[in-house]
Amino acid sequence: MWQRILAVLAARNREFYRDSAGLTWNLLMPVMMIIAFAFIFSGEPKALFKVGVIAPPATIDSAPAATSGFLATPHIDFIPVADDSDAVASAVTKVQRHQLDLLLDIRDGPAYWVNPDSANGDLVERLLLGAYARQDRAEPDGSPQRRAAAGEALSYADWVLPGVLAMNVMFSSLWGVGWVVVRYRKNGVLRRLKATPLRPIEFLSAQVLSRLIVVLTTSTLVYLGASMILDFPMRGSYAALLLVYTAGALCMISLGLTVSARLRTEELADGLLNLMSWPMLLLSGVWFSMEGTSTAAQAMSTLMPLTHLVDAARDIMIDGAGVLDILPQLGLLLGLAALLLVVAARFFRWE
């Protein structure tokens, strides 16, 4: 069995690296994207104010006039934060990372967290205090209590990089197997293999392994390239990062195999792969945080494997999470990968 898998794997690898145009594209595209990011995002992050608000829904309506006055400030994105200690702690971290400009707590006496190093934080703080100062004369309920939450700013490029790597993994995995399997089916390569003792699961395993090697190699190169151009944080272990991208790639490759299990035309495969990848690209928080989006969008987001890959990668790189911290995401990605691979093998048709 392994002999057959390795034979097909070797043939596919040769096909990949000898196709110099395709190989160049696979290596060049992510590097070009990183250069583009370094160029576009080298300045300050966009000046959109984001304020977290800790409040049970009921309290917002009955909030003191000063608070509701502030909550009505235009051009500020108010993001509700759940009233539990985990959510509050993660919101405070976001203030430290400059992802939230200010965190307002109106559960009891008003209090807020602000990052003293953040220019945006300073501006929003002034707006907040201004709103309370105006109301003070009529309604002396006291100014909100200030709490500093200092921390190193996290630039957009730092934040987006784990997502870009994940996106690259997704595209390379989905098309790298989906497209190839459909082409094999169309030009008769699969028909020839069907006449041999090769079993579908062996053929599919070889495709998974071959693409996994390609994806991990290119991702490593992209990571190294990015680290030369950008100064981004890497607080966790490389082993954990490799593990999570491996799990993500396995999941995406299996998804690509499932999509292509029976398709006969590249056009249809292309359409279906686009149909899967674009929603993931938009709703997985690769480009922007899903914070403050509709509950429907967030629910969709949690259904997407890319979301969990991006989350886990960010946890490792930005928060220094260890393997144990990302076990839920790892388990989910690997479980889904196994499930999809079984489905692909069951649905697979040589012709």
């Binding site: 002999q3 057959r4 390795l6 034979a7 097909v8 070797a10 043939a11 596919r12 040769r14 096909e15 000898r18 196709d19 094999y184 030009n187 008769g188 390569v189 028909r191 020839r192 293999l193 069907k194 006449a195 041999t196 003792p197 090769l198």
Partner: protein, 296 residues
Amino acid sequence: MTSVSALIEARSLEKRYPGVKAVDGLSFEVLPGQCFGLLGPNGAGKTTTLEILEGIQTPTAGEVLFRGRPLDLAFRQSIGIQFQATSLQDFQTVDESLRMFASLYARTADRDELIRLCNLAEILKRDTRKLSGGQRQRLLLAIALVNDPDLVFLDEPTTGLDPQARRNFWSLIKTVRARGKTVLLTTHYMEEAEQLCDEIVIVDRGRVIARGQPQALVHEHFPAAIVRLPAAAWPENESLPDYAERRDTVIELYADAVPPVLEYLERIGAGLTALRIDTPSLEDLFLKLTGHSLRA
């Protein structure tokens, strides 16, 4: 012929596609060591039949027995297949393709001998996409033989080859047969069937319409000679005798003895300048039985 000694046997095979009956109750046996030909016009169901025997397609009804047993996974180890159109993976050399396929089997033929047999030594390092038609067919045959199979399927192996390459391929097949392999081939070249096959079935519209040894079949259906002359050479008011037939622009007269025919033609004043006397061939038989014209 009893089914016990057959290497592979088709029993009442049927294959229906929506609106079409591609194979309509085919039965035949192939004996060990035989070269068996499946002949028929385009669209007769040859390839479908072959693919059912190969286990690539499943029949709608009927069954295939290999050594008296239904096809199983082990069957794949015992056969070699050369498809009519096979695409190999891109960016592989002849050598790599051979090795890849060899790795898929438990038993393999001796590599050097295979390379010698199929005359691949000079093109071993060549990209498979850059092979000529004849080289490509030799490689595909080598791949079909890579597991030292007992039974080799060849689906129109010489279609598209020039006459030289075709003759080379025939001698290759004869060598393969000499090593005790059983060969099952489809072709629409009658000369190929005459050269290679011990036994043939002629298939049309999914049914067997004739079966036997090529020469015996021809003798069964034709007298010793066919006299041919252009239709234009036939006298205008003379009707055709019952042993004659008109095929397009040619009139054919079938006879065991030629002199009486010539006397007759002289008597009625037919033009004899373009007259030809032929021994009936498998092609004549094929045309007679299928009524289709062959694509040469």
